[in-house]
């Protein structure tokens, strides 16, 4: 637990001082939303929202492990007498917090640019957003560690993330559509089922697989 908190604190301190990920992700997200709104995607608002979040995430997460390669920090972390999964969990929580911050800005712009009001069941929307974001971050953090050493990581991460995240995208877009149209949590139960299974799968897979990704 102490190791986990130390890793989390390290990642948040780096992000707080360097401010490398969150601002660039947020600006990219705003640009994508603006481009979508300007080119008449207002009728496909939920799709635009989730594609924006996925693309912004894939930009940020591609870099999230890369900074560890400077002065070979990742090897030092792997050598530390802790369970390597903690490196993943710590980085994942830090990425989740960054992503939620980016999402706050994105949602604010989204309501304005796409003329969306607060839905009748805000809780349902919050659940869909949270599950979707958690799924993106869990998968993206694992992939981020995998592509960190690759020369072409900025291209590779979206190429790997987007197809794997298709179930999440389909379910999240449909659920958001329904909730924004005023339907309740009961109407989106199968979509929430897909989102929860996705989060479960990519929450569990790294526990077994992360070690193989970082081990020399």
């Amino acid at each position: 637990m102490r190791a986990l908190l130390a890793i989390l604190r390290k990642d948040l301190t780096i992000e707080g001082r360097a401010r490398e990920l969150a601002p660039s992700m947020a600006v990219l997200a705003l640009l994508l939303l603006t481009a979508g709104s300007a080119s008449g995607m207002v009728n496909a608002a939920p799709a635009m929202l989730w594609i924006t979040l996925l693309v912004a995430a894939s930009l940020g997460l591609a870099r999230s492990f890369h900074q560890e390669l400077d002065q070979d920090q990742l090897s030092a972390l792997v050598l530390a007498p802790i369970n390597p999964v903690l490196i993943y969990v710590g980085k994942g929580i830090a990425n989740l917090l960054v992503m939620i911050a980016v999402e706050g800005v994105t949602l604010f712009a989204f309501t304005i640019l796409y003329n969306v009001g607060v839905p009748r069941e805000p809780g349902a929307l919050a659940l869909v957003l949270l599950l979707g974001t958690a799924g993106i971050v869990m998968l993206g953090t694992l992939l981020g560690a995998m592509v960190a050493v690759a020369r072409t990581r900025e291209v590779l991460l979206p190429v790997l993330l987007l197809p794997l995240a298709v179930p999440l995208l389909v379910a999240a877009v449909r659920a958001t559509e329904k909730v924004l149209a005023g339907q309740g949590i009961a109407a989106v139960s199968s979509e929430v089922g897909v989102l929860a299974s996705f989060a479960l799968l990519f929450g569990a897979a790294p526990v077994v697989l992360f070690e193989f990704v970082v081990r020399e």
């Binding site: 592509v147 690759a150 389909v170 379910a171 299974s197 697989l209 990704v213």
Partner: protein
């Protein structure tokens, strides 16, 4: 040597049977004959990716190079068959459904699988020796993702026919068609094995070359 020859002969026989001997389908007419390529390609590609999945698990577990070679070779061939599926499908769909594409569960799964393994092959091409474990992880999570892709796509509507051959009650095809389909399936699987052996030979050779150069 016998395997490629046998595969080639059986594929030629299968094509001849499909085009010349198989009866015309009552509703679809001639276009249905693409079935004899489409379905065996699907089966061959899914077999190939299953082999990749199993070999990837074994590679991470046992850390033996030979499992990685099998995973790589099989993924590449699976991708070729899957490309064939995605090309023959729309060609068949256009005259019969009136559309090239529809977001059906099976079509979606096949297309997304193609993208996942495109990423797999890109990792293998760009990450060198370090990429083998990364690639194995992608193959594993990609394979585990398939049920979810299928499930999510079922939220969309469908035109694709229900499975006619692989279903619990047994095949629902007239025997004249079923037999020819089986010949083609055997031919494609044999072709898969023949190609797999060639690719494995090449990879073994490459490993040996790299070893000797390192000495």
């Amino acid at each position: 040597m016998i395997l490629p020859v046998l595969a080639a002969l059986l594929v030629a026989t299968g094509v001849f049977l499909a085009l010349r001997v198989a009866p015309v389908e009552a509703f679809q007419g001639e276009p249905y004959r693409i079935l004899y390529i489409h379905v065996p390609s699907v089966v061959a590609s899914y077999v190939a990716f299953t082999v990749t999945f199993v070999a990837s698990v074994l590679y991470l577990w046992k850390r033996e190079r030979r499992f990685d070679r099998v995973a790589y070779a099989s993924a590449e061939i699976g991708q070729v068959f899957l490309t064939m599926v995605l090309l023959t499908g729309p060609i068949w769909g256009k005259p019969v459904w009136g559309t090239w594409w529809t977001w059906d569960a099976r079509l979606t799964t096949a297309l997304i699988l193609w993208f996942i393994f495109a990423g797999y092959l890109m990792v293998r091409a760009w990450s060198g020796a370090q990429g083998t474990r990364t690639a194995a992880v992608i193959a594993i999570i990609g394979f585990l993702d398939i049920p979810l892709i299928h499930w999510s796509a079922r939220l969309l509507r469908t035109l694709h026919p229900r499975p006619a051959v692989f279903r619990p009650e047994g095949p629902d095809l007239p025997s004249s068609m079923l037999l020819i389909l089986m010949v083609n399936m055997a031919a494609f699987l044999l072709m898969y094995l023949a190609l797999l052996r060639v690719r494995l030979g090449q990879e073994r050779l490459r490993d040996r070359l790299l070893e000797e150069r390192a000495l």
